[in-house]
Amino acid sequence: MTAPVLSTRRLDKSFGSLIVAHDINLALPQGVRYALIGPNGAGKTTLINLMTGMLRPDAGQIFLGEDEITSLGPDERVKRGLVRTFQINTLYPHLSALEAVTLAVCERQGHAGTWWRRLPAYRSAVEEAHAILCSLHLGEDCYRLTHELAYGQQRLLEIALALATKPRVLLLDEPAAGVPRDESAGLFTAIANLSEDITVLFIEHDMNVVFRFASRIIVMVGGRILLEGTPEEIAAEPRVREVYLGRARCG
């Protein structure tokens, strides 16, 4: 049994008296599709912020494979393969989709610091970027500026940027947030078609999507992990229903 690709040990974080994460212990093996669910304010996005280094934990450790990454900055974690997308589009408004993904590819390849070389290395990066965009059905609109793209396309661009970094672990924060039902199916199919090598964890509220695309589910409430298990186990668990709907008043 190989080491989990992403794991946390006793992760704690609070803002004053508000506990946003308490004793989080996770171990995500390679290739599994995890859904992270829970009511609003449960601390799901906070957990992603902690794992990616945008928030510093009060206590606990985070491991990528065998290596501890707790003290590393966000860009260093990305370089090691831990990548996230944002719930609210965090894109480059006046760069075209192709430029944006090319930028991510260049940063990954380490070319982004060079300014004396022009075409040769650059061209392969552009081609790789274009391929990523095509795999997400954004190939035709790749020259359009980001702020001109449709909202659903922008959500796809979020994922494209993450893919350009060749992640080992991909954390998707409500990838379909704000996207109409019919378009989100395409989005999740794209996620499902991601390579088996990548471990994916996505935050999601739509239970249909969760049960369709996740092989394991983590339930978070009030900063703590309530449960972890297969979709069948979670569906059968009365506590989950309680957490979302409240305790039954009669019967």
Binding site: E99, T102, G113, R117
Partner: protein
């Protein structure tokens, strides 16, 4: 674009000044227009280049090309040191720190009159003829070709930089600094690099000024000069590479035309211009032209 030799000497020296201003504005464009660093103290590097080139000539070494390189190197070194601070801050703190650094250097130069000549300006600047043959004289021919060639070469280098992956990174930092670490980009290292490069180029511009006019006064380090170059760049349009050149031409020609007017009133019109540009032409003249072109294209289709 280069004005022909046919013009009278007066206009040649104006043309050199335009080239120098354009170069200075180009250096500001790299950090402001492309990386998004708002600096109210960029004249610090201009002044460093000017004073370095001037001072080494007073100590006996007046060779222009090496003086240019040394002036640029000093400005670049200071810029490199400052970049470690600059890359850490944004918004008001950044503006204030750049302003503060500029003011600090100005005060220091004022106090260190043994080195800089203080309020009287640097005395005894003596620049040797370029390549031993071309003197810097009142006719200004040497100065004109010299400044223009330097501007041209650096402009080419800047253009290559803008179209390189590094240039793309800078635009990424300007567009969304939060996204950069999330794609693994070392934003701070990038900012340090461009700030140093911009300091070097500003230093070259300053050294050119010292060498072509054989004078250096405290004014090269003043807030006035930092504000002027900002106006020049905004007028032409930041982030468009040619904006600095266009702005420099318009600004310097206008100033030359109105040089008889009391400086107080000149600044009234500059003020009005700034207000008008911000309200009506937020991307400068080049930006306005680009929008016009886009409207025509849409109308045609």
């Amino acid at each position: 674009m280069p004005l022909p030799f046919v013009l009278t000497p007066n206009y040649l020296s104006l043309a050199s000044q335009i080239a120098i201003t354009a170069l200075f504005a180009l250096s500001l464009d790299l950090i402001l227009g492309y990386a998004g660093i708002v600096s109210l103290g960029h004249a610090a590097f201009f002044g460093l280049g000017a004073y370095t080139a001037g001072i080494i000539s007073t100590y006996g070494w007046g060779e222009p090309l090496s003086g240019l390189v040394i002036g640029a190197a000093v400005a670049g070194l200071v810029g490199y040191g400052a970049s470690f601070v600059i890359a850490h801050f944004r918004h008001l703190a950044l503006i204030m720190i750049t302003l503060g650094m500029g003011l600090l250097l100005h005060e220091a130069a004022n106090s260190a009159s043994w080195l800089t000549g203080g309020a009287d300006g640097l005395q005894g600047v003596n620049i040797w003829p370029l390549f031993g043959a071309f003197k810097f004289d009142l006719w200004g021919r040497t100065a004109y070709v010299y400044s223009l060639v330097v501007l041209f070469l650096i402009f080419l280098a800047a253009r290559r930089l803008i179209h390189s992956p590094f240039g793309l990174s800078l635009r990424g930092i300007r567009e969304n600094p939060l996204r950069m670490p999330a794609i693994g980009a070392p934003s701070r290292a990038h900012l340090r690099e461009i700030y140093t490069i911009a300091a070097v180029i500003a230093g070259v511009a300053g050294a050119l000024l010292a060498q072509t006019t054989s004078t250096v006064s405290l004014e090269v380090l003043s807030f006035q000069r930092s504000a002027d170059v900002l106006v020049v760049l905004i007028l032409g349009g930041a982030g468009r590479l040619y904006g600095g050149i266009l702005g420099a031409i318009i600004y310097m020609v206008a100033r030359d035309q109105f040089s008889g007017v009391n400086p107080q009133y000149w600044y009234f019109w500059i003020g009005l211009l700034l207000v008008a540009v911000v309200i009506f032409l937020p991307n400068g003249i080049l930006g306005g032209l680009a929008r016009l072109r886009a409207t025509w294209r849409r109308a045609a289709s």
